[in-house]
Point group: C2
Chain length 478, copies 2
């Protein structure tokens, strides 16, 4: 006989409860194949529910194939449905946090993140709303994998004016942030080919390239950028570089080296990836023109709105040499067809109305104050013991200390003080003796991001570092 427990106070309707109970009885084998079920009238009387309730449950089970009906005879259990149903594993951990990637500290000198509280997000929201008010139906269909023409046109004009980038809307591809650009570019690299990256380098890029199965070779950087004399005899497929503001050292690639790099690429038929991640914020002198300007057919220009607007938007772009247009269009199609449309149209209007330029100007003022304050605090606390470089643009600088090594102990003390820093050494790939030494030497320098670190936090952070350093020296003295 059937065991059906009904609970009249549950959220589930009575029909749903009967449906589930019967289904479980069939799965468990309690109700066997070809067993006859009670009539709807009989079961409804037995359970004291209306006949409609039972009929609803039977119909659903019938529709899903758990039951079958014989005309004039009744309802039977289908064959082959005795089955051990699995429930979801109970949660190991419940988490509601969205920001999982970064350490949450009192003072955070993280690099590569803009001020999150001055993003003109309300204006952005207004423009987005305006976009939806005048949108044509076909803009809500699948689109070209390159992205929306309106945005690519605005970018082409903007990049020419601000970065000297030579482009047409037709070779600008909109992607989900620079990370996707690097991921798609990885797919250009064959199994036996390598890519060449600057050493030191952003950890994120290395992670992305490695996880895309790409073989990574490194080339050192000095005060003029990539050491072109060290370019390998066997050419890589792609050369990744940050010529405007090397990450993390902050040096600028000299014009002579730029030319040598491009001539190498021409001679060996390889391509250069120019990662122009934060050159919009230049404090001294005019902006240095992009490397891409020297040879648009040898340089893939990668830009992002993560640093000038917000990383949460996941908006970036590639300016592609003609030879890569078709291949990359296919790669983007395969990855996710195209990037979301409405925010592309919003960004196009945002640029066209001059809000981007206005926001960059405003942020440049804010970041310049932070940079100056950071330099002043460092000088105040460390005097001649510190030398600061890489300050002419961007949202981070390098502070090298004469006789301080940020070893495990010092880092632990900073961590306890809730101060997040990285050392220059953290960004070195340790792939040969030289880079191993450079990595070690790099632990005497801090890479201090100030994009999302306000004046008060900067002051507090540097004072905290000074305290920790002094306490450690005191220990050594003991």
């Amino acid at each position: 006989m059937l065991h059906i427990n009904l609970n009249r106070n549950q959220e589930e309707s009575l029909a749903e409860q009967i449906y589930h109970e019967l289904k479980e009885s069939i799965f468990s084998g309690e109700l066997k194949a070809d067993e006859k079920l009670p009539s709807t009238r009989g079961l409804s009387e037995f359970l004291s529910v209306s006949r409609n309730v039972v009929m609803e449950a039977y119909e659903q089970l019938w529709a899903e194939g758990y039951l079958y009906a014989k005309e004039g005879s009744g309802t039977y259990v289908s064959d082959g449905i005795c089955f051990e149903r699995k429930e979801t594993a109970s949660p190991d951990k419940e988490t509601q946090s969205d920001n999982l990637l970064f350490p949450s500290k009192r003072v955070n000198f993280r690099t590569g993140v803009p001020d999150l509280n001055t993003i003109p997000i309300k204006r952005w929201g207004q423009i987005y709303k305006t976009v939806t008010e005048t949108l044509e139906g076909r803009s809500l269909d699948y689109q070209n994998s390159f992205g929306m023409h309106a945005l690519r046109k605005q970018l082409s004009i903007y990049l020419k004016r601000v970065r000297g980038v030579s482009s047409r809307p037709e070779n600008i591809m909109i992607v989900n942030g620079a990370a996707q650009a690097f991921s798609l570019l990885s797919r250009m690299v064959g199994k036996d080919e390598a890519v060449l990256v600057e050493n030191p380098i952003s950890q994120g890029i290395v992670y992305t390239l490695r996880n895309n199965g790409v073989i990574i070779k490194t080339i050192p950087v000095d005060e003029n950028g990539i050491v072109t004399a060290a370019l390998p005899e066997k050419p890589p497929k792609l050369i990744f570089t940050t010529p405007s503001h090397q990450f993390p050292t902050g040096v600028v690639l000299s014009i002579k080296r730029r030319i040598e790099l491009i001539e190498y690429a021409r001679k060996h038929n390889c391509l250069i990836v120019e990662d122009d991640y934060d050159s919009e914020f230049r404090y001294e002198g005019n902006p240095i023109q992009s490397l891409q300007n020297l040879d648009p057919e040898r340089v893939i220009y990668v830009g992002t709105f993560s640093k000038i607007l917000s990383p949460a938007l996941r908006m970036g772009y590639l300016v592609l040499p003609e030879c890569l247009v078709a291949e990359m269009q296919n790669e983007k199609y395969v990855a996710d067809i195209h990037s979301p449309v409405l925010e592309q149209l919003t960004l196009a209007k945002f640029i066209e109305a001059g809000y981007l330029t206005q926001h960059i100007r405003k942020m440049k003022g804010i970041y310049l104050k932070r940079r100056n304050h950071l330099e002043a605090c460092l000088k105040e606390k460390f005097g001649e013991d510190v030398s600061v470089t890489g300050t002419r643009s961007g949202m981070h600088l390098v502070a090298a200390f004469k006789s301080i090594v940020f070893d495990a102990e010092l880092r632990k003390a900073l961590n306890e003080k809730q101060i997040f820093v990285t050392t220059l050494g953290d960004y070195f790939l340790n792939d040969n003796v030289n880079s191993g030494q450079a990595k070690k030497a790099g632990d005497q320098a801090l890479v201090l991001g100030y994009g999302n670190t306000d004046l008060k936090a900067i002051e507090e952070g540097i004072a905290g570092i000074a305290q920790v350093v002094r306490a450690a020296k005191g220990n050594i003295g003991n």
Copy 2:
């Protein structure tokens, strides 16, 4: 001597013009390494411009390393900068079109696209604006690769209620449409492993899987869905299936087969990918519960908002078995870190406020009318010669004709009449004798999408098909 042509009516400032002319002269070798430049005073008098203009140009060239200064002596051309600069290739073609993927026809029976003119996009825009008005700064930072918790929570509730999907927010991952889900899942498949797909199948999925380097094996489909008796001895890594409404045949996978499929997956330790692309629109009977409900640890559930809202949003999701959570989080991070945040928060509010359910109900009414009209038109024009299947849910159906083969000639005629259709045969992978025959037989059936085809277009389209068919038969008769 220098040749500098200034044009006072150009958009470029005079300083920029001088800068560019000098740079070109250095690149071309007209100005040689270590050659002395005229003084700023001398050049300004010669060009009849203010001295500041020349100084600005010199400073920029100096900052970029084209020139160097000797104290008390003047300004010189740097060494090693004679260089053949490349311009962008002139455009092969100029295109402003965004919608490049699909043929633009008068009557379009495309599948997989919703009605683009009834999407509540203004409401969506309002909610987005509201989201930006109350946003905290940290929501604009980089986020968890799984996506925003607020949305995952809403999805978990929605999927339980509507599809019987068993999930927690912690194993729901937000991705850029189902295409990205398939792309990320491809990366789970090892070099020597294969995936099994239904035959016939969506061309888009096959394209995505193939371009991700995955080996594809096929399994036939009959009126009860995947033919489980044909499951291979050597198990695939993943089995792709559309159990609620097989694409394109429209059949529903029977409960017996569902159980057999899951037992096969359990026995052979493989995973099933349930592509639940359009089951929200069910016209007859209650919705069939998801396959995932039978075993959440064996089934990866893939959902998309491309069919119930808009493909342009690029929003989809995966419900992952516990065993894939960490690996897929890493894959999403490597692909593009996470999906855009603001539209995720918008969708969360959209679902929570009941607008999604409301929209689905509305669209179900619209699509049901279209389906009925399409069936009626087919019956009217083709009578007993047509049989229609796969109509119980979704936005397309299959119309099989007794004695009509949609061969190249017939398709050409339809094309000329500006009517876009596909045949069932178009969706067959021709990988063995049986599927080759099925493909050929499939050219007697049309797959007619009515998601974005209004009543008038449906009528016009079927009348047009009837005309073309009759004209062709007339020809045969001649």
